[in-house]
């Protein structure tokens, strides 16, 4: 099946007992660029990856990777997909050099220069056993090997989790190198600064549903911050439907609003609030506000206050 999408799901649903991990989830990811996948814990990201890689069977819907049905991926297609998980699972019982050699033999399209360029960011002694590498070294080694496979699609599932600042920086530097390659990257992370730095596209998944798919800029344009005097809080909270969350900071209330930049000030005016102040929003804050709406539902304000 020829398709422009490296990844495609249609009405995907997955149940674990009574829990619905994915719910009518439809997503199409175009070839090229870095696509950040964001969602809170349990949102369905890992389930999505496992279905895409064929390790889980959906209860309904379909999934395809590089145009091939995920439930029947051929070895050739698997060879075109790189996958790095948060644990950087590697066989710890062999030497790094031996593992690299084995990996090299698996992939005929192995690019030694890419491996060298990436591994140069990490202090990996190839004579060491893999289990004795530090977490950062292991992550780098894993990334270098995965990139050297020259994958068309690279799936990174929270690869920087648990790395220290230096290791994380090195990892991201190495990953940036990848943006020069002809590889589409699906990058799953909770670290917004990483997403901000890397992502060309922002995919937000929550409660098993696709909530947003756009560029980070477009997403930021959708979320706005309004600062209102504390006395108006109750009126705003009750009357404005597009409100994502609110936070009390030094006697002022910060309202995060979705898709309502112009209408929001008008609505505030109708409520008799004529002095609202608009302020720029960072991606981190915007995503947090966006997700908190979905988390809190009707009870969002109380959580906002607590925050």
């Amino acid at each position: 099946m020829m398709t422009d999408y490296v990844l495609e799901t249609r009405h995907l649903s997955k149940l674990f007992g009574r829990k619905r991990a994915l719910d009518d989830f439809t997503l199409q990811v175009q070839k090229g660029g870095v696509h950040a996948l964001i969602g809170s814990n349990g949102a369905g990201k890992s389930t999505l990856f496992r279905i895409l890689l064929g390790f889980l069977t959906p209860n309904a819907g379909s999934a395809a990777l590089l145009g091939e049905d995920s439930s029947a991926l051929t070895p050739a297609t698997r060879g075109r997909v790189g996958y790095v998980n948060e644990e950087h699972t590697l066989p710890g019982w062999i030497r790094a050099a031996d593992l690299k050699k084995m990996q090299q033999e698996f992939y005929p399209q192995w690019q030694e220069d890419v491996y060298r360029n990436v591994i140069a960011n990490f202090d990996v002694d190839h004579d060491q056993m893999v289990s004795s590498l530090s977490r950062g070294e292991r992550a780098g080694f894993n990334l270098a090997m995965t990139l050297a496979q020259n994958p068309e699609l690279l799936i990174l599932d929270e690869p920087t989790l648990g790395l220290d600042v230096v290791a994380k920086q090195e990892f991201l530097d190495a990953l940036l190198f990848c943006s020069n390659l002809d590889t589409t990257v699906i990058y799953c992370s909770h670290q917004m600064e990483e997403v901000e730095r890397l992502a060309d596209q922002l995919i937000i998944i929550e409660n098993g549903r696709l909530k947003n798919q756009s560029t980070p800029e477009d997403f930021l344009n959708r979320v706005s911050l309004w600062i209102v005097d504390a006395i108006h809080k109750q009126r705003v909270r009750d009357k404005i439907p597009s409100l994502l969350s609110c936070r009390e900071i030094e006697g002022e209330f910060h309202f995060y609003v979705l898709d309502a930049e112009n209408s929001f000030s008008r609505q505030l005016g109708l409520l008799g609030i004529n002095d609202p102040v608009s302020a720029p929003v960072g991606l981190d804050v915007a995503v947090r506000a966006y997700l908190s709406k979905n988390h809190l539902g009707a009870d969002m304000t109380s959580r906002g206050e607590a925050a």
Partner: protein, 621 residues
Amino acid sequence: MLNLFKTEMIHYWKWTTGFMVLHLLVLYYLNFLGVNLYKPPQAMLLLLGMMIIALVGGAVQILLRRKPSEWAYLLQRPLSEKRIFLALAAAGCCHILIIALVPGLVMMIMQVGSSPYIIESRHFALLIFNIQPVLIGYFLGCFVAMSPNRLGLFALAGALVFINVYMNSWIAYFAPFMLAASMALAYLAFKADLSRPYRHPVALVLTELPIQFGLLWGLAMLMMIFLELQWAANGSPTRDPRPGTDFYYLQMTPEDKMQAALAASDDPRASFFSQQVTLGEITAVRQRERLSHPQRNQFPVLDSNLLLLDEERGIRWSFSHNTMLFEGRNINSNEAVGWLGSEGFAESRVSAKPFISVPWVTANQFVISDDTLYQVDWNQQAFYTRYVNDQGGRFSDSLGVTENITTLLSEGSVFIFNSRELLDHDIALKPVAEMTLPVDEGQFGNFMHILELIDGYLVIDQFNTSPTTIGADFDLYGRAELRLYYLAPGQETELISSMPLENTLEGVFVYNGLVLAPGMRLLSDLFFGVMLNKQSLARTLPMPFATIPTAVLGLTVLVSLLSTAIVFILIRKTAMPKNIQACWLVMTLFTGMTALVSLLVGYYWRKQDQLQVVEVSHASE
């Protein structure tokens, strides 16, 4: 694939080495204690232990990989799933074989020439053949760890039955089939999504049958517990049997049995015999052993009584299958001292005449080959041929010597000798009577007793007594008989009384397997029939030949239809492919309740997601 194999080999080499050394130490210690490692029960226990280790090893190998991140690392590579499995399984088998084989081989090589037991090529052959049950254990362990059916553990029931039969008779020809079947189970279960039900009807049926075989045994066992509880409350038919039933007669003394048979006889001599029964002494005929006809080069675990001991001279005479001679060795120095063949003792191997068939040893004095009874006189270091059976039918290991009479069974006859004549080798030994065994005698309930009369012998025989295990042959139930024979020297055997005995057991005991799972019952009969090498089709597959009551047949059909209806209700809402749904329905019609239980507990109950039961919510974003 080779790389993955190498990785897996490196992964477990420390554990493998540890277990191998431990195994070697255990064998060495047992050998040091003078234990014969190749005889039951120690040989069986060692094999069973290895099989369990292999089973756990297979399960652990897969379970360690089942963690999502490990599974993704294993599968996400340009290699087909089946080749990945082959690499893992090949490495797993190598590890298991190193643990199982190397210590055994080392021990055998150490024992050659230095052990009181003769180590021959058949010992090495046993080692090779025992690889199969060990690998069966390994693959079943893998299957249990991967089976999408949560009742995968029940597949072990078939293996347990097999290993029980294998250990009792070391059936070599059936092991490759079982090995192939267990490999197929593991091979089919290995897929990227382990929890995904099988999509091909053949895979579904192949993996379901062993599980349902185990379920049938489980259900039958539950039924047995239920019956036992009921019997505990209301009286057990086997422990407190009704008069006239086979178990009632089984509990009688031989004297009472003879009297009962004589009372039912219309023979004019019955009252005269009855008087002699009251006065005479009854002796039991020693039954043949389980493996009473040894084959040359058979597995050493099948050996029994192949040693003679000359205590006075301190010499152990061990029979060698290679030379077909007893080889004498000094107990203390292990030095070879001579040979014993069918024509007596010899100093050199060349001058000793080999036995034609593998003989048995009884009472450290009698040696019995297929057709000849020999006697050893240790004082005079002499070897006598006492009796040659020229009527055909091999002697079995059943020489029973009592004060007055001695009995010996052959395949078709019972020979009765005078004990005094037997013990005195200067007297030419001849049977005082000979009885032809009934040809319709089944495998259960051979209870034969002999009474010496003034002018002959009375032999009472109760046979075809109902088996007391659920799932035994239908055709044996209700066929028990009590027969009384009169033997006179030089005359034909005379049947003077024949009493058919009622069946002790209730219908529910006999037919529960049929009602619960007719198809599984049919297949399990076939399994046992083939595995036990039963000779007639009626004994191999008794169900079609049995006279089954109409009510039982009706109940069987009802249970099957009801199970099929429930399965239909359970699967109709699932996203299961239509051909798999049809397969489940047909299978349930055939296997009845076991299929229902397998689907309900194995897949459906609290795990509907496996069957892809889904109600998609179309809530808007």
